[in-house]
Structure formats: C-alpha cells, structure tokens
Symmetry: C2
Subunit: 263 residues, 2 copies
C-alpha cells in the first residue's frame, strides 16, 4: 500500500489516524487533513470522486487517533452531498461539506478553456522543495516530490521577487498515481505564493479551503500554479490550478488564509 | 425596512420565508438563498460579518415558508463557525458552512493587491439588466439595479462575443446600502459569464458557491466582474470580484456550475 493510502486509511466506523510525517513543524498539512476526511466522506457517499470539497480549519491536526463523523445530506442522481467533521480528542479539527460523483461518466459537453497550464521547465530542471523552510521542518517532503520553478525559489534565501505566484511539479515519492483524492492534498502542498512578498514569512493559517476536482488526472506528475492577488485586511486568497500530463485542468482550488504569523 | 431586509427576515427560531420576486423563472436566485440562510447563521454566530460562506445547492427554492437549521461548530477568538441548512417542506434546499467575524476590527496588516477593479463606463452609461432573459422572466430585477458593460450585452440578441466575462454595476433599487450580507447576493446576481459563449443559453445550475467577504463596502454602487475560464466535462467555474466605490476589493466569489440546460 502506498504511503498516501496508508496515511489516509479510514475504518468503516470513521475511526482513523492523523499520521506523523505529513506535517509542517508538527502540524498536519491542511491538504492532507482534507484528503483524510474526504476519504471517510467518500466511503459513505459510495461514489468515486470528490467533485467539490470545502473545509473550515478550526484547530491544528496533531498526529494521533482521530475520527471522521459523516452525514449524507442528499443522495442525488449525479452527486451525493455529505457533511463531515474531523475530530481528535474533544477538538474539532476540520468541518467539511462535499459533493461526490463519478467524473469518468460525466458528459464531455461544450468546452471552452481560455487559460493554459503554467509554463515550466521540465520536472528535472525544477528545484526540489527543501525539507526545511527556514527553521521550520517539513515532514511533508518525505512523501511528496515537489519541484518549484527555478525562478521562484529566491525567497528561500530572502531574495523575494515581489510576485505572489508559486508554480511547479508534484508527484509522490513512492510513485503512487495521482487520483482525484490526491488533488485535495496537492492544492495545499506548495509553499505559499505570498512567500515571494516582502512580508514576514511564517505559517499562513487557513480559514477556508475549497477544491473543485475538474478531471481524472492522466498518469505522470502534475503541473501546479498558485497565486495570491489579494492580500489585505489581515486576509489573503490563494488560487490554485492543477494540470495533468496531457495539459488538461484537473483541479481548481481557493483558500482564504490569514497573513503569516511568525512560526 | 428595505426590500432586501424584508426578504431575508429570519425569526429567532430559524423560521423564515423564501420571498416571491427574488427569482429567475420561479426559482429563487442562489445568491438570495445564501443571503437568507447566512442571515439566520449570523444571528446565532452573534458576529457582524460573514467572512466566508459556502453553499451546496440541493433543490430549487420555491416561494413559501422555510426554516434555517443552524449549529455553532466553534466559537473562536476571531471567528464563529456555523453550519446551516435551509429547508422548505421536507426538502433541503441548501447546505452551508460559514465563518462569521467582525471585519471592522480586523487588523489592516500587510497589503498587496496586484489586480484592479474592472474598467467600466459610468453607472448611467451601462445597460440595465433586462427583466427578461430571452423567454425567462427575472423577478430579481424588480429589486436589483444591475448595469452591464455595454460591450457585454450582445448575447441578449444572440450576438456572442466569445469572451466569458460579465462586468457591471450593482445597487439596490430602493437605495438600501450594500453591507457584507448583501455581497452574498451580489456575487450570484449577474447573468452568467458563459452567456457570451456559443453554447445553448439557459439555466446554469449551481453545485457549489463560496463567497469570501474581504471588506465592508463604502457607500455607493459596487463594480463587479465575473469570469468563467474553465468550461469542461459538463462543469464550469465562475469567479467573481466585487469592488466598492473607493476602489477596494470587498468580495471574491467562486462557483462550480453545470453547463446550461435549456430552460
């Protein structure tokens, strides 16, 4: 079983474990937590793909036993809508709502795409995400092979380019194929795009995070881009796109975060 | 009391009415339904502003008695997180999750905005949204004064410009000030941006709709822009921005819709 499948295993009664090693400085990554919870929700939905999932982040996820509480709100013709709650001890870590369906059977229909995938050097030419982010250890990078556009790595040495865009490649280190569940992890796995700005770097707490899964990824690494156009009043947005190896959009994400607190 | 305040009135026990005249062809507008439900959620949150609200649309909202069920998930230092369900008869119309807070007291903090408001002719020079959309009557336009960019009105006579962008002004006909609750309505009140594309026009059912409220609007009409870059596989996104009279972003929205069904 792959590392990701092991780390997102959920029993039929909703009991699960927030696994060690999917963290940033001891707190489980938000995308990992959503994937874990959505796997429990998918189980009760009985449908293959998360179509749209929203999570509100209420407490840090610490490694240890957890439970996913789910409730099917509607079983429709195309979608099953499920609410979820990821709880650890007496704390609610994550409150969710999601729609699940079957993307493989979705009608092709009319298409109009007027934006293309990010222009990136090859996977090998991009820069591996460091297992440290300044003084902060990133357990996450043990499992994820994230390659950043070489022009977008200056922030690591304090050389910020002022453009809040972070683009690069994603694959699992153990070669696990990227499925629709993994997209929920991927859209929160890159360094925040605001690290390119001249603001105090640090933890960017997520208030709300939504992923729209727009296709089943073809085999191979995916190309990702994240942008934060609006940093104001203590809040920021981060909008993401994930494109598969055939150049097809497979996910769109957006999160509302708080401007960085020092770690 | 203003029309909008009357139409979104919710009793302390959550009982309410889906008002007639806020509809598109007999179905209540999705933004109106979210504002109605969020008002009930705001009541139990006891905080002034919706910060981020997500709704999943499960059944059409027909005029008549309804009820908003709410549950406070977490009362935090900055936000109160609430789940909501808008039900009419034995049907769940809308499933929601939202965070409520107080934007007026939010720290100003670091700012970086690298996108400006849409470039629009004056309110008077823009084209009023017609009370009909083809054969479809729009009850909504009785209350809302929506002015579309004159270059973006060709679709009304079948002359589509191929660019999925809809921009214009919004104000209430009765002059009610635009507050943070109204932003939930506004981000779903314009004709869909995909009406500019060469696809069958018609109802665009919303699966999921999220609004991030990013500021308290200054007095006056707001400038809005909506774009759909990704129409594929039977789904489309619509991303919105709302800017106040001082040129400040006050809301960002995104919805996942289904490509139009003929009305």
């Amino acid at each position: 079983m792959s590392e990701f499948d092991t780390a997102t295993d959920v029993a039929a009664d909703g009991s699960t474990t927030i696994h060690d090693g999917w963290d940033i400085n001891g707190n489980a990554n938000g995308g990992y937590l959503m994937a874990l919870a959505a796997r429990g929700m998918r189980l009760v939905a009985g449908r293959a793909d998360p179509i749209t999932v929203t999570g509100h982040y209420l407490a840090p996820g610490k490694p240890g036993p957890a439970r996913i509480h789910t409730q099917v709100v509607k079983e429709g013709r195309r979608f099953t809508t499920v609410t979820g709650q990821l709880a650890a001890g007496d704390r609610t870590v994550l409150q969710l709502v999601g729609a699940f369906g079957d993307l493989a059977s979705a009608p092709a229909g009319y298409e109009h795409i007027d934006v293309g995938p990010p222009d990136l050097p090859s996977f090998e030419e991009c820069t591996p995400r460091s297992p440290q982010q300044g003084a902060v250890p990133l357990g996450l990078t043990r499992h994820l092979d994230i390659r950043i556009h070489p022009d977008q790595t200056g922030w690591v040495r304090g050389d910020r380019n002022g453009v809040p865009e972070m683009a690069g490649w994603f694959s699992f280190r153990d070669g696990r194929p990227i499925d629709t569940l993994a997209l929920l992890l991927i859209c929160d796995a890159f360094p925040p795009a605001v690290f390119h700005l001249d603001m105090p770097p640090g933890w960017v707490p997520t208030v709300e995070y939504t992923v729209h899964v727009r296709g089943v990824p073809a085999p191979g690494p995916v190309r990702c881009v994240f942008r934060s156009h609006f940093v104001q009043g203590g809040f920021l947005n981060e909008d993401g796109e994930v494109w598969d190896s055939t150049g097809r959009l497979v996910a769109q994400s957006r999160q509302l975060g708080l401007t960085p607190l020092t770690p």
